[in-house]
């Protein structure tokens, strides 16, 4: 301390060094992140402005916004975008709804709860690829029972495979996705439910709140932060997950069940058009970024009000 007072010039240099100190410490980590995350993203996005056909050695020229202009005219892309909304909203919506119901049921003790809980969480442990295979078999009238049951119940005019029906093909992967993703919501919501002190419910019961009112005025406010963050994460996750669709319908028939993520996959690895695929992917990233910022803003205002 006394040294810095007696040497003002030295102390200034020292202070400047101190200013950089945090950056010096974090530099290795930042470099690592840049090398492994940022650079691939930038390169990937740069493909969107080039004409890269994997099997065409003369390709690779810079084409400006051509890929994006084509994108705007591409009916398959717009259909995939519409399907992405349907796919994501139905998957996340039903996963959330069923997960919430399961969590509420599992939150109260009953005989055999541990066993049922373990069974319910099982789908989450199964690889998506297998889930997709399993459901395509279940939906296939040649080997699976579901079309016959739906026919017997009068839900279908004939025991057909919905995966080959352009109007309904998307619903096959949606069923599988709901089945697979429900446990995620059940687990996280159950954990949040169990952190609500029992006495708060009892106080409300004495104050005269019925079951519905207690759910509205205690359970919901307690769960809201968990709900928002899980829905936000799952929405991005589900919108970005083409596995079930690729496995079950390959986006078909005739791109009818394509979502943007699976369309990227098809363009890149079946069309081998990396430039165009990258433009589609960039569009998807932009849309999801807008969505993420919206939800984070909602969450901030909600936390502010608490």
């Amino acid at each position: 301390m006394s040294a810095t007072v007696s040497l003002p010039t030295g102390s200034r240099a020292r202070r400047r060094l101190l200013m950089f100190e945090p950056y010096l410490y974090s530099a290795p980590a930042l470099l690592l992140v840049a090398a492994t995350t940022l650079i691939p993203i930038v390169i990937g996005i740069s493909y969107a402005f080039r004409n890269i056909m994997l099997l065409d050695p003369t390709s690779g020229d810079f084409v400006g916004l051509d890929n994006f202009r084509e994108l705007l005219r591409d009916a398959s892309f717009w259909n995939a975008l519409k399907n992405t909304v349907v796919w994501t909203a139905s998957c996340v919506g039903f996963q959330f709804l069923f997960g919430l119901i399961l969590a509420l049921m599992l939150n109260r003790p009953f005989p055999g709860r541990a066993l049922i809980q373990a069974t319910i969480f099982l789908p989450w442990a199964i690889p998506t690829f297998l889930v997709g295979m399993n459901w395509s078999w279940l939906l296939n009238p040649a080997i699976g029972p579901l079309p016959h049951w739906a026919y017997a119940l009068g839900l279908m005019n004939a025991p057909d495979n919905i995966l080959s029906d352009p109007d309904y093909a998307l619903w096959g992967p949606i069923f599988a996705g709901i089945w697979w993703g429900t446990p995620f919501f059940a687990i996280t919501l159950l954990a949040a439910l169990q952190s609500i002190p029992r006495e708060i419910y009892e106080a409300a019961e004495i104050d005269g709140a019925g079951g519905l009112e207690r759910f509205r005025s205690i359970t919901l406010p307690f769960l809201a932060p968990t709900m928002v963050i899980t829905v936000l994460l799952r929405t991005i996750w589900v919108a970005n997950s083409p596995e079930l669709i690729v496995v079950m319908t390959k986006g078909g028939p005739a791109d009818a069940s394509q979502i943007v993520a699976s369309y990227v996959f098809t363009q890149a690895y079946q069309g081998l058009n990396f430039g165009y695929a990258s433009a589609v992917a960039t569009a998807l990233v932009l849309l999801l970024l807008v969505y993420a910022f919206l939800l984070i803003a909602i969450r901030q205002t909600m936390l502010g009000r608490r």
Binding site: P197, E205, I206, D207, A209
Partner: protein
Amino acid sequence: MASIDIKNVRKDFGPVSVLKGVDLAIASGEFAVLVGPSGCGKSTLLRLIAGLEDASSGEIHIGGRRVDDLPPRDRDIAMVFQSYALYPHMNVRDNMGYSLRLKRTPQARIAEIVGRAGAKLGLEALGERKPRELSGGQRQRVAMGRAIVRNPKAFLFDEPLSNLDARMREQMRFEIRKLHRDLGATSVYVTHDQIEAMTMADRIVAMNAGIIQQVGTPLELYDDPANVFVAGFIGSPAMNFLTGEARRGETGVALSVGGKAFCTLPQAVAVPEDGRVTIGIRPERIRIGVGAGQAVEAAADLVETTGAASVVHVDLAGQAMKIFTTERLQLSQGQRIPLAIEAKDVCLFDPAGGGRLR
């Protein structure tokens, strides 16, 4: 305001019997304190009255009406929890007004009632705060406010002060009593702290292991305990218990400890056949010095002082005993001191069942 009558109530959790037949009548407007060691079933009894738990058998009446089958909200009671159980996402005013809002009371009327309760508890400036922005004592007050606002037939308190520091506890004790004096509502107050019980209660209900041991005013329990449990639980420092012998003689019942004469009780007192008894005497009733009665000699062991008073630990024929005195004594270890013990201060207990011998 209403009386509370509990008739032969039992409560089992699976194979565990927590309340083993409780009979209790609490008069309208009375401040009754349920006291007992941890796990004796105090909270369970309170929760049965509130309706948060169903009795395995027996009847509960509030204001003459049987309430066993009514849900908590129809029993017209208010409860203050140990954890306060405030609604964390509501501000102080909404916490207090919640029950009124559920009853569809007009906004203006809610504001008026909540305002009045808040003023009574010194919460006026805190109306907009959330519970997490309050101190423990303030949360405690909000919990009380929430109870007052409902204007219930009875208040139930479950160890409401146990999360506060000693000074705050003393103050809240006083405030709760004052509040009870103002409102005059029947109150059942659970605590494991016998000082709280002594200072607050109109009547104390001493419980142990799911059974009511004694019901009476604080001084009744203090002066005339029904058994070893009550005698040992009420009072601080606790009553001394000595293993002794009782022999009926010409002049009365002579008590001896370790073969040495201790004191002589009147003939009327009951004595077991074998003469073995537990002798109870409160530390503050023992005088150091030679008195009118027989002098008993003990050896000083250790003196603890709080400033206002001292506790002298002594050894009487191999048994430890405490003496509470306001005198300032200089005693060395092993020093022999005479003790004066009067027959009226001695309680006799049956060593087998712990019951009082009278």
